[in-house]
Symmetry: C2
Amino acid sequence: MDKAADLDYLRDYNDALVVAIARRTDVFDRATIAAGTGLTPQAVSKVIARLLAAGLVEPDGVRRHGVGKPTSVYRLVPDSRYAIGAHVARRTLRLVLCDLAGEVRQSVVTPLPGDFTPVRLLDDLADGVAALAGGCKAERLVGVGIGMVGPLDHAEGVVRDAHRLRHWHDVPLRDLAAERLGLPVLLDKDVTAGVVAEAWRRGPKFRDAVLIMVESGIGAGLWLGGSAYRGAHTNAGEFGHMVVQLDGPRCVCGRNGCLEIVHDQARARGDVAAAARVLAVGVVNLLQAIDVDHVVLAGADLLPHADAYLGAAQDAVRTEVPRVDWLTADVTTPALGVDVIAAGAAMGVLNERYGPLTGPRQAAAHP
Amino acid sequence: MDKAADLDYLRDYNDALVVAIARRTDVFDRATIAAGTGLTPQAVSKVIARLLAAGLVEPDGVRRHGVGKPTSVYRLVPDSRYAIGAHVARRTLRLVLCDLAGEVRQSVVTPLPGDFTPVRLLDDLADGVAALAGGCKAERLVGVGIGMVGPLDHAEGVVRDAHRLRHWHDVPLRDLAAERLGLPVLLDKDVTAGVVAEAWRRGPKFRDAVLIMVESGIGAGLWLGGSAYRGAHTNAGEFGHMVVQLDGPRCVCGRNGCLEIVHDQARARGDVAAAARVLAVGVVNLLQAIDVDHVVLAGADLLPHADAYLGAAQDAVRTEVPRVDWLTADVTTPALGVDVIAAGAAMGVLNERYGPLTGPRQAAAHP
DNA sequence: GCGTATTACGCAACAGCGTTGCTATTCTAG
DNA sequence: CTAGAATAGCAACGCTGTTGCGTAATACGC
């Protein structure tokens, strides 16, 4: 049963609304927020007072615009809060230190051995987090986010069957890491973390989006209606295993003609253009099904040929979607490049704590 | 920019929570709600007092269970609120009167001429609504919901290009109907209305679902994370125009090998089993992409062969989705049968007013 | 230089939310 | 008939955003 809302929820909701504005504007003032949120100016003053006390925001002097008392303006304090994000890929562990503004402040990449074990990952994770945590005051470090290949269970924090990783079946990574690191930990699919990064940086107009990642498999992270969508079993986005060719070649997943196998075969024979066209068909399929207006193409196997993939997808969106004047979607690559997954994992942690609320705050998984 | 929350929102949120419980239980008491929502028993008393005053709920005596003062129990008053739902199909207009419990109290079906015009529909709609509105007190009629084939714009209430209806391009049906009927009106895609009906009746465990409708086209209504998902341009669910056969026959939408054209060709040659298998592939595609755990198969062209479609889909879900023990989804037909769209349109109106809130209440479109 | 209109800020009182403390009610058990 | 237990609800409380209004700081007209 859903949880009821109380005054704490009300406060956090409105505070988060103002933090969200602060995050994406240079400076802000009382009147602008009042107009945008529907709060009274007086209520905005109270919110700002709370954020000042928490150190999330600081005064930035006054601005004069003609007659009247000058407006007091404020700005976000980016280094008031930090989170560390980890991108666990098949051969590398990428860690970033991310501030409240969504900027990557430091990053480290360490190689992982083939078929690394959970113990090995935890060791490397602990080392890396210790190194990055030196970059900020301990009390300002909110937590650690881990983005990893699925399938995994976000709600339980358990890696179910990480794709092509032998030792990763039903590993309760979130709780193991939380205990080892002594910090709150969030576990998410890599693609979901990636779309969180884009959403956190691009603001509230980025309400419905997918991030498609081509990197040892093809997956999609979904951002629907202003928040990450993970699905009933927190396993949404297995985009690569949509059948696009009923009589196509058999895929590892057991079905025939999956997008992934068709795409990979084209890449295997060196035909990047054909691979890109197949992915573009998948993109349009997804647009038809869930009608997002932002598509982000990412992943280590895609970005080296970004132009080909972008071109094919943009072309397909322009020509294959009916009523283009009305149904539009932009196709881009991530601004953060290869850091997007790790950064998104970090922003997921920040988002959980300081992002806009969609319902009464759930109890977080603490160490 | 998002709207801030105030005390009214808080109250409505919690009231809606209790109404939701009342809707799906026979009788309820203070302690049960307190335990389920996290509210204190005293707060629940206040909520119930408000609902009593509004007439949404009534006392149902007391229940004795052993020692102590007997528990006062309450129950929903189904006929305290009504909504009328309309299902505008290509040849028929189906209207239902629906109560707060989600029961269909009356229904009428009238034929529509081929290529009917907006004016003709408004006339028939007005006649039908007048007839059904006699079935309840005027002040208890909350509004009218219209479910119709897309593409249409839910947010603006405008029919963009209703599939195979010549006179329906950029028709502001919601506002036209609201003015004509003198009632609040909601316009939604038929498939979305359908999934709302299922969700409204099946309660909060039905959080992630699709309703697939085969009826002059193939579409899907999405219910994601506990509310209807319509997409960036409120046009999500164009499920039939997902390509499943890259080199397949050309579809009316301009692409090749859409699910719809492949399916329709199988049906045209009388091969229902093959058509059902194609749809099943699409169902699994959708499960892979958005990981819902409920699939509802509906539509006038499907229900006569419900067994074949259900069997194929259930079989595919069982055999084609990896890790079935973990990733499960049930496949059913709608309990309301052919009334599901009209009933869902009505429940959409009730849901808007008395359903669980996902954010601060938006101003409704009044006449 | 000075008064005035204008704009913004913030204290104080307020209504209404869920919470807490406590009392009254109504039952069973003995 | 009394004691104990479970429930209901009044009243006071802390906190939310809101409202009313006084104060501060500026530009502009004279």
